[in-house]
Symmetry: none
Subunit: 212 residues, 4 copies
Amino acid sequence: MVTSTTPKKRDSEATRKRVLSAARIEFSKLGLSGARTESIATRSNSNKRMIYEHFGSKDGLFEAVIQAAWEDIRAAELKLNLQDMEPMEAMRTLVRFTWKYYLKNPHFVTLVNSENLHRAIHLKKIKAKVGEMQAHMVAMVAGIIDRGVASGAFRPGIDPLQVVITIAAINFYYFSNRHTGSVVYNVDLMSDEALENRIAFNVLTIEGILRA
Amino acid sequence: MVTSTTPKKRDSEATRKRVLSAARIEFSKLGLSGARTESIATRSNSNKRMIYEHFGSKDGLFEAVIQAAWEDIRAAELKLNLQDMEPMEAMRTLVRFTWKYYLKNPHFVTLVNSENLHRAIHLKKIKAKVGEMQAHMVAMVAGIIDRGVASGAFRPGIDPLQVVITIAAINFYYFSNRHTGSVVYNVDLMSDEALENRIAFNVLTIEGILRA
Amino acid sequence: MVTSTTPKKRDSEATRKRVLSAARIEFSKLGLSGARTESIATRSNSNKRMIYEHFGSKDGLFEAVIQAAWEDIRAAELKLNLQDMEPMEAMRTLVRFTWKYYLKNPHFVTLVNSENLHRAIHLKKIKAKVGEMQAHMVAMVAGIIDRGVASGAFRPGIDPLQVVITIAAINFYYFSNRHTGSVVYNVDLMSDEALENRIAFNVLTIEGILRA
Amino acid sequence: MVTSTTPKKRDSEATRKRVLSAARIEFSKLGLSGARTESIATRSNSNKRMIYEHFGSKDGLFEAVIQAAWEDIRAAELKLNLQDMEPMEAMRTLVRFTWKYYLKNPHFVTLVNSENLHRAIHLKKIKAKVGEMQAHMVAMVAGIIDRGVASGAFRPGIDPLQVVITIAAINFYYFSNRHTGSVVYNVDLMSDEALENRIAFNVLTIEGILRA
DNA sequence: CATGAATGAGAATTCATTCAT
DNA sequence: TATGAATGAATTCTCATTCAT
């Protein structure tokens, strides 16, 4: 008992985490309506009662998943030390970070789409918690742009918000639409070659926007 | 009564269209799982039986909606006469057309997202019908780029597919993420001012990609 | 137009027959509840409306099928001229006739079973039409038995009704239970060899009952 | 409260049994297609969800009913100690047992007919479980016949399978066709007198088959 | 805290039957 | 008479949620 090993059974917090993790997978694969509480209970080696114990409802669980997703990307963004970089390199780094995050966290993309289908009703409830985080990102980009303009590397008059949205757009859309895209363009958008082409092009796109 | 446009009852084709139209609304608002056949039947002044008569299943109906959506955007694209324009103006026109199409057909955006959630299984079934259409678009853009490079207006070595994807991305994403975006950026992305800013920025973005 | 060829279209009687024939197949394969009016309409190259025009309801159609089935077996029985045969040979002939009828008219077996599932409610409605026919059969067998007893070939005191039922039983059951029987006995009850064995045994069984 | 037989609520096995029992009644009265899951749920003091929890589908439930029916008759057969009896008496006992089983378990007769209508598809799935049991019955009858032939009581060359089938036939058919039979023969086949006549006749029939 | 049984509302799908042409 | 569209009531099956242990 003096050991530091957490008890496996009857560990409320551990159960909560397992449920949340299973829910993230289920919701990202099937959307809110398509997800099944039964399936989440099974995936989490738990039971349906636990979902209600911890999250109150299927909607409450979805809300928790959305919140966790946003908190995770925020935490990742905070680790970037863009202010220490030369402006254009800072922007390239941000583009590549965003790309890599979506690539490594495909559930984020579908969860965001699902939340948009539901008109962001869950996100609105936790607005306070996620609101500032994006504001922080815009402020950071604004700072980089200011530095770039001052150094003559960037053209003046660039709207930081548009840049932030565009960085998201050119990366997010590629993954979000990978299935229909692969069909209509008749190429495998997820092949190594296609991925390399795309991220390189995205860097060029942002450079084209910023360059003086 | 003397007019030739008496609305016909017992008109199979008309019923099919009404159901399809109602389904487009329902699916775009609620996704495939969230949509209710009952609701579609009511919206179309028809009944559930007719859905199954015409489309076989909820999935079959969704497939028909997806097909109609793609056929519609294609028909719209075909009306653009980009080959007659000066290259950069042609590309600006394409960006503005795409923007306007998503703006005026918001259901298209959510339907595409839903289809991606379902890994494009419906679109794959009608691949033959929609496949060439996007190929046509890529070829058209390739032609414009060639002309632009030849005239010295565009830089050489631009991949037409990346340009096509990027045009879609910067326009589509804005509408697709308007709900979560409005929350996290704390602005109304759909205000007239915001919309004007965005489309202007998107034109600049594409110019930045192409300019020599 | 002076020819005797009946008009193909708009021939009420011909339509009725086609529907009846299609219904016999459908009901014998799927039972009353399992049969589909849609399927019957299609099978008969007709349409559902005709079913209701001619037979009033699905139940009415089933009733007509049952009646036709009984009338058919009766007509076949009437062609047997058992009174002209030596008694034991007459009985053997009746056994073989019954066997062959069930073998060649498998739908009869399933229709009778279906009608029993429904507690003979349809047959009761047409009792008058089918009642005397079976009475006739019992009377005929009674006559043969009398002749057999008189000649010393048959033992006395045989109940004709039991004989009639037994002849039906040993033949009918074999076909009625051919599917479950083939499974539980692990043999193909419908192979040529199995069929020959069975009819030979059935003749012996009846001889055993009658022989003095 | 001190007794050990407190009727348990939330007893999964008990619920399963209640559903199975209700299903046996419903299916035997109405067949597979005619049976209603709603009705089974109500009869079993349960609800539709439990049917699907335990049996997966209406078909799965029917399969379980079929299996239980076969297991029950097998269990009853196993209690017969025919090998200790004098051969002819053993056969008479078997005939009377079969008769009594069908008389007391009328659902068995209709269930078997229903399963034959469905071409034994459910029985085939549980073939392994029911296959040997009938083989056992045939082997047992073969043994009795051998003893009878050895003692000179039975004629030689009798096929045990045909005897088994015939015993089933003359008993099963009588009950299976009791409704249509009562109509066409214009007698109540289920009156005490009719029943006594029939079982007596059936014993004679088997004696006639076996007697040397 | 944990488990699995239970439930009722609801969802997709089917079907016999009727209606308009 | 013939046809196919239309309908509403069922019917099978599903699901989020609650309850008993």
